[in-house]
């Protein structure tokens, strides 16, 4: 039986279904991300696990105990908030010690454990600072240490990086990953940033409109998206419009160019419109065997640091090609005619009729 079991959880707010029947099992030590746009229900689910909201229906079990109706202070679940939520009247050390003092630990145990945790988050030298004397990134490190101090059974993080600068975000997400791996603590992580979810998680739940659209390892989610929504929310994707020519030969036409795919939707017949979902980095300017070829013209060249992006138009279609950038080899200039190659392994869907 799973460590944390969430079963058919529902919650509505004034007529709107915030969480609409979510079921998920989390194993001990697993890092699970709840990924989705704002308002998709991921934070509401997290708050129900924390006990700040009660579900309208469904159950939550932790270590085989039904905690659905247990008040938050009795759940032994740690939480890190987007707004840090450090106690302004306590120092960094005082904040970290709070949960230990509540448990009436002896003061020598508290002192030792606080020092250890502040060291873990790299703030051993700032134990006596008050929250307003710390930067945003430092505050969030203290908040993480504070949540870990009482050795919670589950750690919840609610968009912990989204109030921080881009640069601090990168550093701190590496830290969170390192600390979670080191302590092997069961973790639920809410984010709207697919890159964070991909890099941090053992598994990802992709939320949309209160439901989970797909559950899987980051590679599964990225390489085999189950729905259009997942395909476009996780990673970038080009949507190329085509007309089915021969379902048997798996051939369609983009403009005048024949393109071969692996499979059409079952309902697609000759003459039907379909959409090819192709990731920018799966389109290349170098030929490879068995790949589709689509001639086009470079419209714009984008510099992305380690990578480069080309916006290419081909007839009525425009799409993005992304590649590793080699400073010693120049990129094609706007206006250059190029051939774009991509494999047959792309997702094909039918556009909604009407």
């Amino acid at each position: 039986m799973a460590y944390l079991q969430i079963r058919e959880i529902k919650r509505h707010f004034s007529g709107h279904r915030a969480v609409d029947g979510v079921t998920v099992d989390v194993q001990q030590g697993e890092f699970v991300s709840l990924l989705g746009p704002s308002g998709s229900g991921k934070t509401t689910l997290l708050r129900m696990v924390a006990g700040f909201e009660r579900p309208d229906a469904g159950t939550i079990h932790l270590e085989n105990e039904d905690i659905t109706q247990v008040p938050p202070q009795k759940r032994q679940i740690g939480m890190v908030f987007q707004s840090y939520a450090l106690f302004p009247n306590l120092t960094a050390a005082g904040n970290v010690a709070f949960g230990l003092k509540v448990r009436k630990e002896s003061s020598s145990v508290i002192t030792a454990h606080v020092a250890e945790l502040l060291d873990l988050v790299g703030l051993a030298d700032k134990a006596d600072r008050y929250p307003h004397q710390l930067s945003g990134g430092e505050q969030q490190r203290v908040a993480l240490a504070r949540a870990l101090a009482p050795s919670p059974r589950v750690l919840l993080l609610d968009e912990p990086l989204s109030a921080l600068d881009a640069r601090i975000r990168l550093t701190l997400r590496t830290e969170i990953r390192r600390i979670q791996r080191a302590l092997n603590i069961t973790t639920l992580y809410v984010t709207h940033d697919q890159e964070e979810a991909l890099i941090l998680s053992d598994r990802i739940l992709v939320f949309n409109s209160g439901r989970v659209e797909q559950v899987g390892r980051p590679e599964e989610i990225y390489d085999h998206p189950a729905t259009e929504f997942v395909s476009s929310f996780v990673g970038s994707v080009n949507q190329v419009h085509a007309v089915v020519q021969s379902p048997a030969e798996r051939l369609c036409l983009v403009g005048e160019v024949p393109i071969r795919v692996e499979a059409f939707p079952d309902s697609a017949g000759p003459g039907d419109s379909v959409v090819l979902w192709i990731r920018p980095e799966r389109m290349r300017l170098t030929a490879s065997e068995g790949a589709n070829r689509l001639p086009g013209v470079v419209e714009d060249v984008m510099f992305l640091g380690p990578r480069a992006g080309l916006r290419i138009s081909s007839g009525a279609e425009t799409f993005l090609v992304e590649m590793a950038r080699d400073p010693s080899r120049p990129l094609p200039a706007p206006g250059t005619a190029v051939d774009v190659f991509f494999s047959t392994g792309v997702l094909v869907t039918q556009p909604p009729t009407g």
């Binding site: 924390a50 006990g51 700040f52 008040p71 938050p72 202070q73 009795k74 759940r75 032994q76 679940i77 740690g78 939480m79 908030f81 707004s83 939520a85 450090l86 106690f87 302004p88 009247n89 709070f98 949960g99 509540v102 448990r103 908040a143 504070r146 949540a147 101090a149 009482p150 919670p152 919840l156």
Partner: protein, 257 residues
């Protein structure tokens, strides 16, 4: 972004004049003693027995009202804030009622309760403290509600809960320390209000500082002006004291910082 400098200072000067001119005029009036010594109005006040008695009574009532109000309002405001917006509308409505129900209605209502005989609750001292409690509520509620909001005590409460803290610990270790400025501000307003209050105490037959001031004014105008300035000075002494507490220059017990 910035209006012209000149107009800025004009506004400040006008505002200051509007408030400070009455004070200056009162000072001047209190010193217009004709043939008697310059500060005779002040000395006659400070030696009058009624002055000290009424001052003591008002001080006691003001402190009692602040204490009662804080005991009732801090938990109520905190609870209403956590339950927002469901309950908050109702509590806010209740907290505005004392503005809307004039003090006179309040006194009539209380006299009505008294007339119907409510035993120990009908003592005049209980009545006047209850009345002061009611009129001080909106000030305390607003002040504390702003305080709760400005430090986002909802999230702090959730953080404390997730760390295993129960409600008493949260109230004592998180809510109160972070509301100190708000509590002091609200308490100060109520204190000043009750030190100058006249209508309720006169109707219930208490010889408070406000009643004493008005009676003096009706008989000895110069002394009354002096009295008004003395009361003004008293309030400022209190303000200074509270500022010192808030800045941490004065601390109470080992827990305060």
């Amino acid at each position: 972004m910035r209006p012209a400098r000149g107009s800025s200072w004009l506004v400040v000067l006008l505002g200051a004049a509007y408030f400070i001119l009455p004070l200056v005029a009162t000072l001047q009036f209190s010193l217009q003693t004709g043939t008697r010594p310059l500060f005779s109005a002040y000395s006659s006040i400070l030696t009058a027995s009624g002055f000290w008695a009424s001052l003591g009574l008002s001080l006691f009532m003001a402190l009692a009202a602040v204490a009662i109000g804080l005991l009732l309002i801090i938990p109520a405001a905190y609870w209403a804030y956590l339950r927002a917006p469901k309950v908050r509308t109702w509590v806010e409505f209740l907290s505005i009622l004392p503005f809307v129900v004039p003090p006179i209605v309040l006194v009539f209502g209380m006299v009505g309760l008294y007339g119907n005989g409510f035993g120990p609750l009908s003592s005049p001292m209980v009545l006047i403290l209850a009345a002061y409690g009611v009129i001080s509520m909106p000030y305390l509620f607003r002040s504390i509600d702003n305080g709760l909001r400005s430090v986002d005590l909802r999230t702090l409460t959730q953080a404390a809960l997730s760390l295993g803290a129960g409600w008493p610990v949260i109230l004592l270790r998180i809510v109160l320390p972070n509301l100190r400025t708000a509590i002091l501000g609200g308490a100060f307003l109520v204190f000043a209000l009750i030190m100058g209050e006249y209508a309720i105490s006169s109707m219930l037959g208490f010889n408070t500082f406000g009643v004493y001031m008005l009676l003096t004014g009706q008989t000895r105008a110069h002394a009354a002006a002096a009295l008004a300035l003395i009361s003004f000075a008293l309030v400022w002494v209190f303000v200074g004291f509270m500022h010192a507490v808030n800045r941490g220059n004065i601390t109470f017990g080992p827990g305060a910082r």
